[in-house]
Amino acid sequence: MTKSFISVTNVSKFFGEFQALKNVSLDIELGQKVVICGPSGSGKSTLIRCLNQLEQHQSGTIAIDGVQIDSSPVARDALRNNVGMVFQQFNLFPHLSILDNLTLGPMRARGMTREQAVELATYYLDRVKIPEQMDKFPNQLSGGQQQRVAIARALCMEPKIMLFDEPTSALDPEMIAEVLEVIEELAESGMTMICVTHEMGFAQHVADQMVFMDHGEIVEMAPPKDFFSKPKSKRCQLFLQQILRH
Protein backbone atom coordinates (compact mmCIF):
# COMPACT_ATOMS: atom_id res chain seq x y z
CA MET A 1 0.00 0.00 0.00
CA THR A 2 2.67 2.46 1.03
CA LYS A 3 5.17 2.86 -1.72
CA SER A 4 7.19 5.76 -0.33
CA PHE A 5 10.34 4.95 1.59
CA ILE A 6 9.18 7.02 4.55
CA SER A 7 5.47 7.26 4.99
CA VAL A 8 3.98 9.36 7.78
CA THR A 9 0.20 9.08 8.02
CA ASN A 10 -2.05 11.12 10.32
CA VAL A 11 0.49 11.24 13.13
CA SER A 12 -0.47 13.01 16.35
CA LYS A 13 1.71 13.60 19.35
CA PHE A 14 0.76 15.04 22.73
CA PHE A 15 2.95 16.35 25.53
CA GLY A 16 0.40 16.15 28.32
CA GLU A 17 -2.43 18.45 27.22
CA PHE A 18 -0.36 20.14 24.53
CA GLN A 19 -0.72 18.71 21.06
CA ALA A 20 2.65 19.02 19.34
CA LEU A 21 1.64 17.27 16.11
CA LYS A 22 -1.84 17.34 14.60
CA ASN A 23 -2.57 14.63 12.03
CA VAL A 24 0.66 15.12 10.16
CA SER A 25 1.09 13.21 6.90
CA LEU A 26 4.21 13.24 4.79
CA ASP A 27 5.76 10.94 2.19
CA ILE A 28 9.43 10.93 1.38
CA GLU A 29 11.15 8.98 -1.35
CA LEU A 30 14.64 7.57 -1.28
CA GLY A 31 17.10 10.23 -2.41
CA GLN A 32 14.83 13.15 -1.57
CA LYS A 33 16.05 16.13 0.41
CA VAL A 34 13.36 17.67 2.54
CA VAL A 35 13.82 20.87 4.53
CA ILE A 36 11.35 21.58 7.30
CA CYS A 37 10.97 25.13 8.55
CA GLY A 38 8.57 27.06 10.72
CA PRO A 39 8.42 29.11 13.89
CA SER A 40 9.71 27.61 17.13
CA GLY A 41 7.20 25.34 18.83
CA SER A 42 5.65 24.43 15.50
CA GLY A 43 6.46 20.72 15.85
CA LYS A 44 9.34 20.46 13.35
CA SER A 45 11.76 18.83 15.78
CA THR A 46 9.03 16.67 17.27
CA LEU A 47 8.23 15.32 13.82
CA ILE A 48 11.75 14.16 13.03
CA ARG A 49 12.24 12.90 16.59
CA CYS A 50 9.16 10.71 16.08
CA LEU A 51 10.74 9.32 12.93
CA ASN A 52 13.52 7.64 14.92
CA GLN A 53 11.43 7.14 18.03
CA LEU A 54 13.18 9.56 20.33
CA GLU A 55 9.56 10.54 20.88
CA GLN A 56 6.66 8.12 20.63
CA HIS A 57 3.63 9.30 18.67
CA GLN A 58 0.20 8.49 20.08
CA SER A 59 -1.81 8.00 16.93
CA GLY A 60 -1.29 7.56 13.21
CA THR A 61 1.44 5.48 11.58
CA ILE A 62 5.03 5.95 10.56
CA ALA A 63 6.54 3.40 8.20
CA ILE A 64 10.11 3.28 7.02
CA ASP A 65 10.97 0.88 4.19
CA GLY A 66 7.63 -0.82 4.80
CA VAL A 67 8.26 -1.41 8.51
CA GLN A 68 5.90 0.06 11.09
CA ILE A 69 7.87 2.29 13.43
CA ASP A 70 6.97 1.73 17.07
CA SER A 71 8.79 0.39 20.13
CA SER A 72 9.01 -3.19 18.80
CA PRO A 73 12.34 -4.96 18.17
CA VAL A 74 11.55 -5.17 14.43
CA ALA A 75 11.16 -1.41 14.30
CA ARG A 76 14.39 -0.97 16.23
CA ASP A 77 16.22 -3.05 13.65
CA ALA A 78 14.69 -1.03 10.82
CA LEU A 79 15.75 2.21 12.49
CA ARG A 80 19.25 0.95 13.12
CA ASN A 81 19.74 0.02 9.50
CA ASN A 82 18.14 3.12 8.06
CA VAL A 83 18.17 6.27 10.13
CA GLY A 84 21.01 8.48 11.39
CA MET A 85 20.55 11.65 13.37
CA VAL A 86 22.45 14.89 13.99
CA PHE A 87 21.44 17.02 16.96
CA GLN A 88 21.38 20.75 17.57
CA GLN A 89 23.69 20.36 20.59
CA PHE A 90 25.98 17.79 18.84
CA ASN A 91 25.66 15.40 21.82
CA LEU A 92 29.12 13.95 21.35
CA PHE A 93 30.38 11.71 24.14
CA PRO A 94 32.71 14.04 26.08
CA HIS A 95 34.69 11.26 27.80
CA LEU A 96 35.62 9.52 24.55
CA SER A 97 38.14 10.54 21.90
CA ILE A 98 36.81 11.54 18.48
CA LEU A 99 37.81 8.14 17.14
CA ASP A 100 36.04 6.30 19.99
CA ASN A 101 32.95 8.47 19.48
CA LEU A 102 32.85 7.20 15.91
CA THR A 103 33.70 3.54 16.47
CA LEU A 104 31.37 2.91 19.43
CA GLY A 105 28.23 2.44 17.34
CA PRO A 106 29.78 0.29 14.60
CA MET A 107 31.48 -1.95 17.18
CA ARG A 108 28.63 -2.36 19.66
CA ALA A 109 25.56 -2.16 17.44
CA ARG A 110 26.87 -3.41 14.10
CA GLY A 111 29.26 -6.03 15.44
CA MET A 112 32.33 -4.73 13.63
CA THR A 113 35.85 -5.47 14.76
CA ARG A 114 37.95 -2.56 15.97
CA GLU A 115 40.02 -2.56 12.76
CA GLN A 116 36.93 -2.39 10.55
CA ALA A 117 35.39 0.34 12.70
CA VAL A 118 38.58 2.41 12.69
CA GLU A 119 38.81 2.12 8.92
CA LEU A 120 35.20 3.26 8.59
CA ALA A 121 35.71 6.12 11.05
CA THR A 122 38.82 7.29 9.23
CA TYR A 123 36.94 7.30 5.95
CA TYR A 124 34.08 9.42 7.30
CA LEU A 125 36.33 11.79 9.26
CA ASP A 126 38.04 12.37 5.96
CA ARG A 127 34.71 13.13 4.32
CA VAL A 128 33.82 15.74 6.96
CA LYS A 129 37.36 17.14 6.53
CA ILE A 130 38.84 16.63 9.97
CA PRO A 131 41.00 13.53 9.62
CA GLU A 132 43.76 14.99 11.82
CA GLN A 133 41.62 15.38 14.97
CA MET A 134 40.80 11.78 15.76
CA ASP A 135 42.80 11.47 18.98
CA LYS A 136 41.44 14.66 20.51
CA PHE A 137 38.45 14.97 22.81
CA PRO A 138 35.24 16.72 21.75
CA ASN A 139 35.73 19.83 23.89
CA GLN A 140 39.13 20.44 22.30
CA LEU A 141 37.37 21.12 19.01
CA SER A 142 35.42 24.14 17.81
CA GLY A 143 31.64 23.95 17.59
CA GLY A 144 31.76 23.55 13.84
CA GLN A 145 34.29 20.73 14.10
CA GLN A 146 32.21 19.04 16.80
CA GLN A 147 29.12 19.12 14.63
CA ARG A 148 31.08 17.66 11.73
CA VAL A 149 32.27 14.87 14.03
CA ALA A 150 28.63 14.30 15.00
CA ILE A 151 27.74 14.01 11.31
CA ALA A 152 30.57 11.52 10.81
CA ARG A 153 29.39 9.55 13.85
CA ALA A 154 25.93 9.24 12.34
CA LEU A 155 27.38 8.29 8.93
CA CYS A 156 29.45 5.50 10.50
CA MET A 157 26.17 3.65 11.03
CA GLU A 158 25.79 3.88 7.22
CA PRO A 159 22.15 4.96 7.29
CA LYS A 160 19.91 5.44 4.25
CA ILE A 161 18.32 8.55 5.75
CA MET A 162 19.91 11.35 7.73
CA LEU A 163 17.85 13.48 10.09
CA PHE A 164 19.22 16.91 10.96
CA ASP A 165 17.63 18.71 13.91
CA GLU A 166 18.68 22.36 13.53
CA PRO A 167 22.32 21.37 12.96
CA THR A 168 23.65 24.94 12.85
CA SER A 169 21.48 26.66 15.48
CA ALA A 170 23.99 26.23 18.30
CA LEU A 171 26.96 27.39 16.23
CA ASP A 172 28.77 30.71 16.08
CA PRO A 173 28.05 32.42 12.75
CA GLU A 174 31.51 31.90 11.30
CA MET A 175 31.23 28.12 11.76
CA ILE A 176 27.85 27.65 10.10
CA ALA A 177 29.27 27.58 6.58
CA GLU A 178 31.70 24.69 7.19
CA VAL A 179 28.90 22.52 8.55
CA LEU A 180 26.43 23.42 5.81
CA GLU A 181 29.10 22.67 3.22
CA VAL A 182 29.51 19.15 4.59
CA ILE A 183 25.75 18.62 4.57
CA GLU A 184 25.52 19.92 1.01
CA GLU A 185 28.19 17.52 -0.16
CA LEU A 186 26.30 14.73 1.53
CA ALA A 187 23.15 15.81 -0.31
CA GLU A 188 24.99 15.82 -3.61
CA SER A 189 26.18 12.27 -2.98
CA GLY A 190 22.53 11.20 -3.05
CA MET A 191 21.82 10.77 0.66
CA THR A 192 18.17 10.99 1.63
CA MET A 193 17.82 13.71 4.22
CA ILE A 194 15.29 15.54 6.32
CA CYS A 195 16.62 18.75 7.74
CA VAL A 196 15.04 21.13 10.20
CA THR A 197 16.74 24.48 9.74
CA HIS A 198 16.33 28.23 9.52
CA GLU A 199 19.12 28.56 6.96
CA MET A 200 16.96 29.55 4.01
CA GLY A 201 19.84 30.07 1.58
CA PHE A 202 20.98 26.52 2.24
CA ALA A 203 17.41 25.26 1.93
CA GLN A 204 16.96 26.94 -1.42
CA HIS A 205 20.16 25.36 -2.64
CA VAL A 206 19.76 21.83 -1.33
CA ALA A 207 16.09 20.99 -0.84
CA ASP A 208 13.89 19.45 -3.46
CA GLN A 209 10.91 19.75 -1.14
CA MET A 210 10.17 22.49 1.39
CA VAL A 211 7.80 21.86 4.28
CA PHE A 212 6.40 24.68 6.37
CA MET A 213 4.95 23.79 9.76
CA ASP A 214 3.01 25.87 12.25
CA HIS A 215 1.12 24.88 15.40
CA GLY A 216 1.77 21.18 14.86
CA GLU A 217 0.47 21.09 11.32
CA ILE A 218 2.04 20.97 7.89
CA VAL A 219 0.77 24.21 6.41
CA GLU A 220 2.55 24.21 3.10
CA MET A 221 4.61 21.83 1.05
CA ALA A 222 6.26 22.79 -2.24
CA PRO A 223 9.49 22.65 -4.23
CA PRO A 224 11.78 25.50 -3.12
CA LYS A 225 11.27 27.56 -6.30
CA ASP A 226 7.53 27.86 -5.71
CA PHE A 227 7.86 27.91 -1.95
CA PHE A 228 10.05 30.99 -1.83
CA SER A 229 8.56 32.90 -4.78
CA LYS A 230 4.86 32.35 -4.26
CA PRO A 231 3.94 30.89 -0.88
CA LYS A 232 0.19 30.23 -0.81
CA SER A 233 -0.74 30.49 2.85
CA LYS A 234 -0.79 33.72 4.83
CA ARG A 235 1.15 32.19 7.72
CA CYS A 236 3.93 31.01 5.46
CA GLN A 237 4.18 34.39 3.73
CA LEU A 238 4.48 36.08 7.11
CA PHE A 239 7.13 33.63 8.29
CA LEU A 240 9.22 34.04 5.15
CA GLN A 241 8.95 37.80 5.34
CA GLN A 242 10.26 37.80 8.88
CA ILE A 243 13.03 35.32 8.33
CA LEU A 244 14.25 36.77 5.01
CA ARG A 245 14.13 40.40 6.07
CA HIS A 246 17.71 40.33 7.29
Partner: protein, 259 residues
Protein backbone atom coordinates in the same frame (compact mmCIF):
# COMPACT_ATOMS: atom_id res chain seq x y z
CA UNK B 1 54.67 5.33 39.00
CA UNK B 2 51.64 5.15 41.28
CA UNK B 3 53.78 4.18 44.24
CA UNK B 4 56.26 6.96 43.65
CA UNK B 5 53.43 9.48 43.42
CA UNK B 6 51.89 8.35 46.71
CA UNK B 7 55.36 8.36 48.21
CA UNK B 8 55.80 11.98 47.22
CA UNK B 9 52.45 12.81 48.80
CA UNK B 10 53.26 11.18 52.11
CA UNK B 11 55.74 13.71 53.48
CA UNK B 12 53.38 16.54 52.52
CA UNK B 13 50.47 15.25 54.56
CA UNK B 14 52.74 14.18 57.38
CA UNK B 15 54.02 17.73 57.54
CA UNK B 16 50.47 18.96 57.87
CA UNK B 17 49.81 16.44 60.62
CA UNK B 18 52.90 17.36 62.60
CA UNK B 19 51.40 20.42 64.36
CA UNK B 20 48.46 18.31 65.52
CA UNK B 21 50.72 15.66 66.96
CA UNK B 22 52.88 18.26 68.63
CA UNK B 23 49.78 19.91 70.08
CA UNK B 24 48.58 16.59 71.45
CA UNK B 25 51.86 15.97 73.18
CA UNK B 26 52.10 19.53 74.39
CA UNK B 27 48.82 19.00 76.21
CA UNK B 28 50.50 16.31 78.23
CA UNK B 29 52.58 18.96 79.87
CA UNK B 30 49.48 20.70 81.23
CA UNK B 31 48.52 18.02 83.69
CA UNK B 32 50.13 15.40 85.82
CA UNK B 33 47.61 12.72 84.93
CA UNK B 34 49.23 11.55 81.67
CA UNK B 35 51.22 8.38 81.67
CA UNK B 36 52.74 7.83 78.26
CA UNK B 37 54.85 4.95 79.53
CA UNK B 38 52.03 2.67 78.44
CA UNK B 39 52.90 3.26 74.79
CA UNK B 40 56.48 4.40 75.17
CA UNK B 41 58.28 2.89 72.16
CA UNK B 42 61.63 2.82 74.04
CA UNK B 43 60.42 0.22 76.52
CA UNK B 44 59.63 -3.35 75.61
CA UNK B 45 56.10 -3.33 77.03
CA UNK B 46 55.31 0.06 75.56
CA UNK B 47 56.46 -1.10 72.16
CA UNK B 48 54.39 -4.27 72.46
CA UNK B 49 51.30 -2.21 73.36
CA UNK B 50 51.87 0.19 70.50
CA UNK B 51 52.13 -2.63 67.97
CA UNK B 52 49.07 -4.28 69.47
CA UNK B 53 47.12 -1.08 68.77
CA UNK B 54 48.51 -0.44 65.30
CA UNK B 55 47.93 -4.05 64.29
CA UNK B 56 44.20 -3.36 64.36
CA UNK B 57 44.73 -1.26 61.23
CA UNK B 58 44.70 -4.41 59.12
CA UNK B 59 41.13 -5.33 60.01
CA UNK B 60 39.88 -1.75 59.97
CA UNK B 61 41.12 -1.39 56.39
CA UNK B 62 40.10 -4.90 55.29
CA UNK B 63 36.58 -4.40 56.70
CA UNK B 64 36.07 -0.98 55.17
CA UNK B 65 37.51 -1.73 51.75
CA UNK B 66 35.65 -5.02 51.35
CA UNK B 67 32.43 -3.42 52.56
CA UNK B 68 32.71 -0.42 50.24
CA UNK B 69 33.43 -2.61 47.22
CA UNK B 70 30.29 -4.62 47.92
CA UNK B 71 28.22 -1.56 48.70
CA UNK B 72 29.22 0.17 45.44
CA UNK B 73 28.08 -2.85 43.43
CA UNK B 74 24.87 -3.33 45.43
CA UNK B 75 24.27 0.42 45.36
CA UNK B 76 24.51 0.50 41.55
CA UNK B 77 22.17 -2.48 41.23
CA UNK B 78 19.67 -0.73 43.52
CA UNK B 79 20.08 2.64 41.77
CA UNK B 80 19.20 1.40 38.27
CA UNK B 81 15.55 0.46 38.96
CA UNK B 82 15.21 3.84 40.64
CA UNK B 83 15.79 5.45 37.24
CA UNK B 84 13.12 3.44 35.47
CA UNK B 85 10.10 5.08 33.87
CA UNK B 86 7.87 2.35 35.29
CA UNK B 87 6.47 2.48 38.76
CA UNK B 88 7.25 -0.99 40.15
CA UNK B 89 11.04 -0.86 39.77
CA UNK B 90 11.05 2.63 41.22
CA UNK B 91 9.02 1.42 44.18
CA UNK B 92 11.50 -1.41 44.82
CA UNK B 93 14.31 1.15 44.87
CA UNK B 94 12.43 3.47 47.25
CA UNK B 95 11.48 0.71 49.69
CA UNK B 96 15.04 -0.62 49.88
CA UNK B 97 16.60 2.80 50.36
CA UNK B 98 14.09 3.96 52.96
CA UNK B 99 14.19 0.71 54.96
CA UNK B 100 17.96 0.40 55.03
CA UNK B 101 18.51 4.06 55.82
CA UNK B 102 16.15 3.80 58.77
CA UNK B 103 18.23 1.18 60.59
CA UNK B 104 21.19 2.43 62.68
CA UNK B 105 24.47 0.77 61.67
CA UNK B 106 25.15 -0.50 65.18
CA UNK B 107 21.72 -2.15 65.31
CA UNK B 108 22.30 -3.70 61.90
CA UNK B 109 25.69 -5.09 62.99
CA UNK B 110 24.13 -6.71 66.07
CA UNK B 111 21.23 -8.09 64.09
CA UNK B 112 23.38 -9.54 61.31
CA UNK B 113 25.78 -11.19 63.79
CA UNK B 114 23.34 -12.50 66.38
CA UNK B 115 20.05 -12.62 64.46
CA UNK B 116 20.86 -13.64 60.89
CA UNK B 117 22.48 -17.02 61.76
CA UNK B 118 19.27 -18.07 63.51
CA UNK B 119 16.92 -16.81 60.79
CA UNK B 120 18.91 -18.16 57.84
CA UNK B 121 20.46 -21.14 59.63
CA UNK B 122 23.99 -20.23 58.62
CA UNK B 123 27.11 -19.53 60.57
CA UNK B 124 28.76 -16.22 59.91
CA UNK B 125 32.19 -15.06 61.03
CA UNK B 126 32.67 -11.80 62.86
CA UNK B 127 34.49 -10.37 59.84
CA UNK B 128 31.79 -11.20 57.31
CA UNK B 129 29.00 -10.14 59.64
CA UNK B 130 30.74 -6.79 59.94
CA UNK B 131 31.31 -6.49 56.20
CA UNK B 132 27.72 -7.45 55.44
CA UNK B 133 26.22 -4.99 57.91
CA UNK B 134 28.45 -2.12 56.78
CA UNK B 135 27.87 -2.91 53.10
CA UNK B 136 24.09 -3.13 53.40
CA UNK B 137 23.92 0.04 55.39
CA UNK B 138 26.14 1.94 52.98
CA UNK B 139 24.50 0.56 49.83
CA UNK B 140 21.41 2.69 50.40
CA UNK B 141 23.59 5.81 50.36
CA UNK B 142 25.56 4.55 47.37
CA UNK B 143 22.29 3.97 45.52
CA UNK B 144 21.27 7.57 46.10
CA UNK B 145 24.69 8.83 45.02
CA UNK B 146 24.59 6.77 41.82
CA UNK B 147 21.02 7.86 41.08
CA UNK B 148 21.93 11.53 41.43
CA UNK B 149 25.09 11.04 39.37
CA UNK B 150 23.31 9.24 36.55
CA UNK B 151 20.45 11.73 36.56
CA UNK B 152 22.92 14.59 36.20
CA UNK B 153 23.98 13.30 32.76
CA UNK B 154 22.39 15.25 29.94
CA UNK B 155 19.44 13.66 28.15
CA UNK B 156 21.21 14.27 24.85
CA UNK B 157 23.73 11.58 25.78
CA UNK B 158 20.93 8.98 25.90
CA UNK B 159 19.46 10.28 22.66
CA UNK B 160 22.82 10.18 20.91
CA UNK B 161 23.33 6.62 22.16
CA UNK B 162 19.91 5.65 20.87
CA UNK B 163 20.62 7.31 17.53
CA UNK B 164 23.65 5.05 17.05
CA UNK B 165 21.54 2.07 18.13
CA UNK B 166 23.22 1.25 21.43
CA UNK B 167 21.06 -0.90 23.67
CA UNK B 168 20.41 -0.05 27.33
CA UNK B 169 23.36 -2.03 28.65
CA UNK B 170 25.88 -0.55 26.24
CA UNK B 171 24.49 2.94 26.77
CA UNK B 172 25.04 2.60 30.51
CA UNK B 173 28.39 0.86 30.22
CA UNK B 174 30.09 2.98 27.60
CA UNK B 175 28.33 6.34 27.76
CA UNK B 176 26.46 7.10 30.98
CA UNK B 177 28.35 5.36 33.79
CA UNK B 178 31.88 6.49 32.83
CA UNK B 179 30.66 10.08 32.97
CA UNK B 180 28.53 9.58 36.08
CA UNK B 181 31.33 7.91 38.06
CA UNK B 182 33.67 10.77 37.33
CA UNK B 183 31.09 13.16 38.75
CA UNK B 184 30.34 11.14 41.89
CA UNK B 185 33.96 10.35 42.74
CA UNK B 186 34.14 13.00 45.50
CA UNK B 187 30.98 11.55 47.05
CA UNK B 188 32.39 8.02 46.84
CA UNK B 189 35.53 9.25 48.60
CA UNK B 190 33.35 10.68 51.38
CA UNK B 191 31.61 7.33 51.73
CA UNK B 192 34.95 5.55 52.10
CA UNK B 193 35.97 7.90 54.88
CA UNK B 194 32.58 7.41 56.52
CA UNK B 195 32.98 3.65 56.23
CA UNK B 196 36.43 3.74 57.85
CA UNK B 197 34.94 5.53 60.82
CA UNK B 198 31.82 3.36 61.06
CA UNK B 199 33.96 0.21 61.01
CA UNK B 200 34.82 1.07 64.63
CA UNK B 201 31.30 -0.06 65.53
CA UNK B 202 32.12 -3.61 64.49
CA UNK B 203 34.25 -3.75 67.65
CA UNK B 204 31.07 -4.54 69.61
CA UNK B 205 30.88 -8.02 68.13
CA UNK B 206 34.57 -8.65 68.81
CA UNK B 207 36.27 -7.68 65.56
CA UNK B 208 39.95 -7.07 66.31
CA UNK B 209 40.14 -3.71 64.57
CA UNK B 210 41.57 -0.45 65.89
CA UNK B 211 38.82 0.38 68.37
CA UNK B 212 38.50 -3.13 69.78
CA UNK B 213 42.25 -3.30 70.29
CA UNK B 214 42.21 -0.02 72.15
CA UNK B 215 39.34 -1.16 74.36
CA UNK B 216 41.12 -4.39 75.23
CA UNK B 217 44.33 -2.61 76.08
CA UNK B 218 42.48 -0.12 78.28
CA UNK B 219 41.01 -3.01 80.25
CA UNK B 220 44.45 -4.44 80.99
CA UNK B 221 46.47 -1.23 81.36
CA UNK B 222 43.96 1.22 82.90
CA UNK B 223 45.30 4.11 80.80
CA UNK B 224 42.24 5.16 78.75
CA UNK B 225 43.45 8.73 78.14
CA UNK B 226 46.71 7.79 76.44
CA UNK B 227 45.35 4.76 74.60
CA UNK B 228 42.27 6.53 73.23
CA UNK B 229 44.45 9.48 72.23
CA UNK B 230 46.55 7.07 70.17
CA UNK B 231 43.30 5.68 68.73
CA UNK B 232 42.20 9.16 67.68
CA UNK B 233 45.56 9.75 66.00
CA UNK B 234 45.38 6.40 64.23
CA UNK B 235 42.02 7.27 62.65
CA UNK B 236 43.22 10.77 61.87
CA UNK B 237 46.29 9.61 59.98
CA UNK B 238 44.38 6.88 58.18
CA UNK B 239 41.57 9.12 57.04
CA UNK B 240 43.77 12.01 56.00
CA UNK B 241 45.82 9.61 53.89
CA UNK B 242 42.66 8.30 52.25
CA UNK B 243 41.44 11.83 51.59
CA UNK B 244 44.71 12.69 49.89
CA UNK B 245 44.58 9.52 47.82
CA UNK B 246 41.03 10.26 46.69
CA UNK B 247 41.92 13.81 45.73
CA UNK B 248 44.95 12.58 43.81
CA UNK B 249 42.77 10.09 41.94
CA UNK B 250 40.22 12.80 41.16
CA UNK B 251 42.87 15.07 39.67
CA UNK B 252 44.25 12.21 37.66
CA UNK B 253 40.85 11.34 36.21
CA UNK B 254 40.14 14.97 35.42
CA UNK B 255 43.42 15.13 33.55
CA UNK B 256 42.07 12.44 31.20
CA UNK B 257 40.02 15.08 29.44
CA UNK B 258 39.69 18.78 29.90
CA UNK B 259 35.98 18.79 30.60
Amino acid sequence: MLISRIGSLLPACMRRLAPLVIAAFALTGCTANWGWYVVNPTTASGQRNLWFLIDGLYYTIALSVTAILISVIVGLIIALPGLSKRRTPRAINRVYVELVRAVPILVLILWVYYGLPQVADISISVFWAGVLALAISDSAFQAEIFRAGIQSIDRGQYEASQSISLNYRDTMRFVILPQAIKRILPALGNQLVYMLKMSSLVSVIGMQELTRRANELVVTEYRPLEIYTILVLEYLVLILLVSFAVRWLENRMMAGDTR
